[in-house]
Amino acid sequence: MLSSLAAKFKNSSTKFTADLGHRAKIRTALKSYEKARNGTQSQYQDWQAARTAASTIKWEAINHLDAYLTEFVEKLTARGTKVFWASNGQEARDYVVALAKEKGARSIIKSKSMTSEEIHLNEALRQAGYEVVESDLGEYIVQLREEAPYHLVFPAMHLTRHEISDLFQEKLHTPPTDSPEELTMIARRALRMKYLEADIGISGANFGIAETGMISITENEGNARLTTALPKVHVALMGIEKVIPKLADLALFLPMLATAGTGQQITCYNSLIGGPRQPDETDGPEEFHLILLDNQRTQLLADAEQRDALHCIRCGACLNVCPIYRNVGGHTYATTYQGPIGSVITPHLRGLMDWKHLSYASSLCGACTETCPVKIDLHHHLLHNRRNAVAQQPDPAERFAFRAFAFLTRFPGLLNRLARLSRHFMPLTNAARSFLPPPVKGWVASRDLPPIAAKSFRDYWRTR
């Protein structure tokens, strides 16, 4: 029996895989990424060695997480940052809402943060009566459309310029245009005042540096810089797994994140924030709050076999190479983290039984594992999730079928004879297409069945 989430996934997959226009759009977008990435990656003297090193640094950080987090927080607090440890999304949301109330905030500006999507922060703030504006262009667009981001890194990848023009016409009352430059300028103008008037700026963090007590933010647009420069209060949201040991580690992670994420050598702005403005600085927020979020990350940490999934630097490369993602698109996953990494971690963050279907929706091709800059064993973890799901609650019919098959394999001669007999029924399968059980039906809907050989290999072997 499919869970309702699994059924929704199947329905959405069916819809998107039939949409050839969608397939073409995504293919074009990802082809351009592939070209850029291959070009940039080939400039490395040794990309594979860089991957190994990045993986090793993350291993060190995650497997000594308590020590590095403690050092990180000590350094931050020493220079005026207020650190809040949130066990779950509710505690994080409550903190931000209470802070907004305390500050009498009216307008809040945000830069991109998948962690904030994960805990539905915008929703909570809106319900409490605060205006929250997404400043990243792609996030701004999907916010206006009232839909979830389509991709970890490219939130509006599924939209054409015409759809965006229509959107701006409807929501911002701007004249139609098919120029990406003009559309970008419209968003820039609309957001300019928001930066200047916002009482609170909320950002994410790509990395947390234990050695120096800083967060690192990677972006191209400059919206995160503005979000963290102008408002009086800056709040950053960071998953506990983002901490890395040393500042110099960024010399490796910043270019690798860019190469894998967008195919750039390095993104336009990479900023380090170590606290509120210092006494000798002429501007900057008066308060800096850092919310450290657990929200089931410690659950994943406790699974030693899959612990390396916490190495993720959220580059999105695994989504880009995944043939399933390319065909079903980001919204089909119906959860914050999409693609292979999302399929691996969502069962840990949100429940195995509800989310195991994502682990089954894969041909296990391994392109994700091959591309991951920090060498997470992604496609093998999909297998691990499948095994764990069966151990917890196997489907009785499926288990029976597999057990029967396993039993029958002890009698190859019998199976061989049964196969020869079934040849006589093959012509009927075409006629009886609509009556066939789901596994076979699924095949013949779009594919011819392979013919069963008149003489099997073992028949040949016996008689030679």
Partner: protein, 228 residues
């Protein structure tokens, strides 16, 4: 406000870490990869270490990034260049910070200039045509500019006005990212500024059909006057 569930979370972490994780999923059967010291310089794209080579690489990157690089022979030439830029871009008001190098060149603009030391309102900073800053270093490998809130007039000066102008000396060039991080440590380890940034080209986005557009939210124009 208290600090939240610190001990709960640390407790869960310690409990989870009692079971060791395999170090680097080893190729099946093979021993795990030996611990190699982290040496990004050996793996990142190679860079020349001579001054001329670094400058050439920096120039090449600027072209690709659409950073307007103006190589000049001295402070006098820089003063002429800044006036040319003012005319070409129709600057009406400038913003800057005080700095030995900038103080020689910025007045040549002959424009009303807001200085960040005077703590201008962000709304009036927003009206400036150009934000002028010094920098801590220039990075050949990536064509990046490294600056901090302490050394470059705060956080907003280099990102709010639509044009960012950096005035630097060619001896501020460092070869690569590892060198830039070494410089940061050496210079600031006793007291880091609250804000440090690596700027690589004008602001950009590819969010609309993956088509590159400059000037998303940060400056649309980035100019570097590099004094030899």
């Amino acid at each position: 406000m208290n600090s939240g569930k610190r001990e709960d979370i640390l407790g869960r972490i310690r409990e989870a870490l009692r079971v060791p994780a395999p170090r680097l999923h080893a190729e099946h059967g093979a021993a795990p990869a030996p611990l190699v010291p982290v040496q990004p310089r050996a793996w990142l794209p190679s860079v020349p270490f001579d001054a001329e080579g670094q400058l050439a690489l920096f120039q090449k990157n600027c072209v690709q990034l659409k950073t307007d690089l103006q190589l000049v022979s001295g402070v006098e030439a820089a003063m002429k260049t800044i006036v040319n830029l003012r005319n070409a871009h129709h600057w009406t008001m400038a913003a800057a910070h005080h700095h030995p190098l900038l103080d020689q060149i910025v007045p040549a603009l002959g424009l009303e200039t807001q200085y960040t030391e005077e703590r201008p309102d962000s709304k009036s900073l927003e009206k400036c045509s150009v934000g002028i800053t010094a920098c801590d270093a220039l990075i050949g490998q990536t064509g990046s500019i490294l600056l901090t809130a302490r050394s470059a007039g705060g956080r907003a000066l280099s990102v709010l006005p639509p044009h960012h102008l950096v005035i630097a000396r060619v001896d501020q060039l460092v070869p690569d990212l590892p060198a830039a991080f070494e410089l940061l440590s050496a210079r600031y380890v006793k007291n880091y500024p609250s804000f440090i940034t690596f700027i690589t080209g004008p602001s950009r986005t590819g969010d609309i059909e993956r088509i590159l557009v400059l000037g998303a939210h940060g400056p649309k124009n980035l100019t570097v006057i590099l004094i030899q």
